[in-house]
């Protein structure tokens, strides 16, 4: 398994259980995990710190919190991969993903994962997004 020692993962979700779960998974991969449970706290954090990867829940206290935050992260740190984590598509029938260029221009995220996140998929996506950096470093 790829080891991401000394890398910081920001996880934003208003559900404490998902924070916990993603926290356990990412810690086991070597990440230092920063957990935030509101859009506001996350915003404060990214104003001063660049995470190496950001996991954002789509719907928090505001329906579009995830989109707004991913826009903010990308604006400040274009190199930081953003992963939206959501249960939305299966719930509302609202479908989107971030695989085409066109979708990526309005959804400022690199990947969208659905909840709950499986470890295998998490590793696969992180390897894709961060591997270039890790093999150099």
């Amino acid at each position: 398994m790829q080891n991401y020692n000394n890398k910081t993962a920001l996880v934003v979700d208003d559900d404490p259980d998902f924070l916990e779960q993603l926290g356990i998974q990412l810690s086991s991969m070597g990440f230092e995990v920063v957990k935030k449970s509101t859009q506001e706290e996350a915003q404060e954090y990214i104003e001063n710190t660049r995470p190496d990867v950001a996991f954002l829940d789509l719907m928090m206290e505001n329906m579009d919190a995830g989109f707004v935050l991913s826009y903010e992260v990308k604006k400040r740190y274009p190199q930081t991969p953003v992963i939206l984590v959501t249960a939305v598509s299966s719930e509302t029938g609202m479908e989107f993903d971030a695989t085409t260029q066109d979708e990526r221009t309005w959804i400022k995220a690199d990947v969208i994962l659905s909840k709950p996140v499986r470890l295998e998929q998490l590793q696969k996506e992180l390897n894709k997004l961060l591997i270039g950096e890790t093999s150099n470093g």
Partner: protein, 385 residues
């Protein structure tokens, strides 16, 4: 005021002008639908021309002559039937043959006007069509709104039921992957969280059943004289264990008894929701005050806490279904988001009201005012006999 467009299709210019003269700009009050209507008239001399005008802009009411030089009135109706536009047709017929009437009705004509007619006969027929049209549109709109509300309710409901399932599923993945190693005691917290989410789901399903029973009126109300003070005590006893755990004191302020005609189950639900909320959203070491005030016609229940409180914006959203105030302070508190909408629906059964006052970090007071005898006279009569 509603503007209704009337299109007259008639080959006789005199007839068209007569209709225009008496109807264009005519304002009438339709008491049945509680609305003022103003008519505007446009005209066509042939069926073809009329259909073109309808294509461009659909009128609300169509006055359609049967006998026309090109395609007949019945053919115009046939064309319209294919498109099913939102309009009412009144057929104008010179010799009202039964056959024409039957075909026209089959093709969607609403009414008939026999030539020659007086302006007031014509107005009466147009007003009748207008009333019908407005009612039909109102019904359609209501049905649509109802569908919309139902859809929203179901999608929110499925979200609320899926969230705990996904959380439990996620924890099970972690256990399967042995993410915390092979020492089983490392998983205690996870197992505890799974059980808590399952409890939350049960609570939500029970609340949901209560809510649907109240809404559908299927919940049988067994009405009797109930002492609210007794009910309050029972609710406090229920909440006591979780209050004690967090050193929260519950104080009662009332003078026994306060009687109300009602269903003891319903009144228990009201108290349970208010008191358990006051404990849940309190701070450790806080206090809860339960007051009951008795007056001639009403009883007022108020439950205050010294908890996290809410902003006015949050208070305004509070009584909607599935609304849970989400912020840092509430994230570890479980709830279905249905409790207060249940309280509100129950209070309505007693011609009552529910209100909330709150200050962030100071606490909240919920006040429920109930009519002491809100039961319809006939059933109240049978109750006392």
């Amino acid at each position: 005021m509603v503007e209704l467009k009337v299109l007259v299709i008639d080959d006789e210019q005199g007839m068209r002008l007569a209709v225009q003269r008496s109807l264009d700009g005519y304002i009438v009050e339709l008491p049945d639908v509680d609305m003022n209507v103003r008519f505007g008239v446009t005209m066509a001399s042939t069926g073809e021309e009329g259909l073109e005008m309808i294509e461009e802009s659909t009128p609300d009411i169509l006055l359609l002559d049967h006998k026309l030089p090109g395609i007949s009135g019945l053919e115009v109706l046939g064309e319209l039937e294919k498109k099913d536009p939102d309009l009412m047709t009144v057929m104008i017929t010179a010799y009202a043959s039964l056959e024409t009437a039957i075909v026209a009705t089959k093709r969607g004509a609403f009414d008939f006007l026999a030539k020659p007619f007086t302006p007031s006969e014509m107005k009466a027929a147009v007003c009748k069509a207008a009333k019908h049209l407005i009612l039909q549109r109102q019904t359609k709109k209501l049905q649509q709104e109802r569908r919309q509300v139902r859809f929203q309710f179901l999608s929110v409901l499925s979200h609320e039921l899926k969230a705990p399932l996904a959380a439990i599923q996620g924890y099970l993945y972690l256990m399967r992957d042995k993410s915390l190693g092979t020492d089983i005691s490392q998983y205690d917290k996870i197992v505890g969280r799974c059980l808590a989410r399952i409890d939350g789901m049960y609570k939500m399903i029970f609340d949901l059943l209560d809510l649907t029973r109240i809404e559908s009126g299927q919940k049988k109300r067994s009405l009797s004289k109930v002492d609210l003070c007794e009910t309050a005590r029972t609710a406090v006893e229920t909440a006591e264990p979780s209050a004690r755990e967090r050193e929260i004191d519950i104080h009662l302020h009332f003078k026994d008894p306060v009687f109300i005609v009602g269903d003891s189950g319903e009144l228990e639900i009201i108290f349970n929701n208010l008191v358990s909320n006051a404990v849940k959203y309190n701070r450790d070491g806080g206090r809860v005050d339960v007051k009951i005030e008795d007056s001639e016609e009403t009883a007022t229940i108020s439950v205050s806490d010294t908890g996290i409180g809410m902003t006015q914006k949050e208070v305004d959203r509070l009584f909607n279904e599935f609304v849970r105030i989400k912020n840092k302070k509430t994230q570890n508190i479980a709830g279905s988001g249905l409790g207060l909408s249940i309280v509100k629906k129950l209070a309505k059964l007693y011609n009552g009201t529910v209100s909330a006052e709150s200050r962030p970090d100071e606490g909240s007071t919920f006040t429920v005012t109930l009519q002491k005898d809100s039961v319809a006279p006939e059933s109240a009569g049978s109750e006392s006999s």
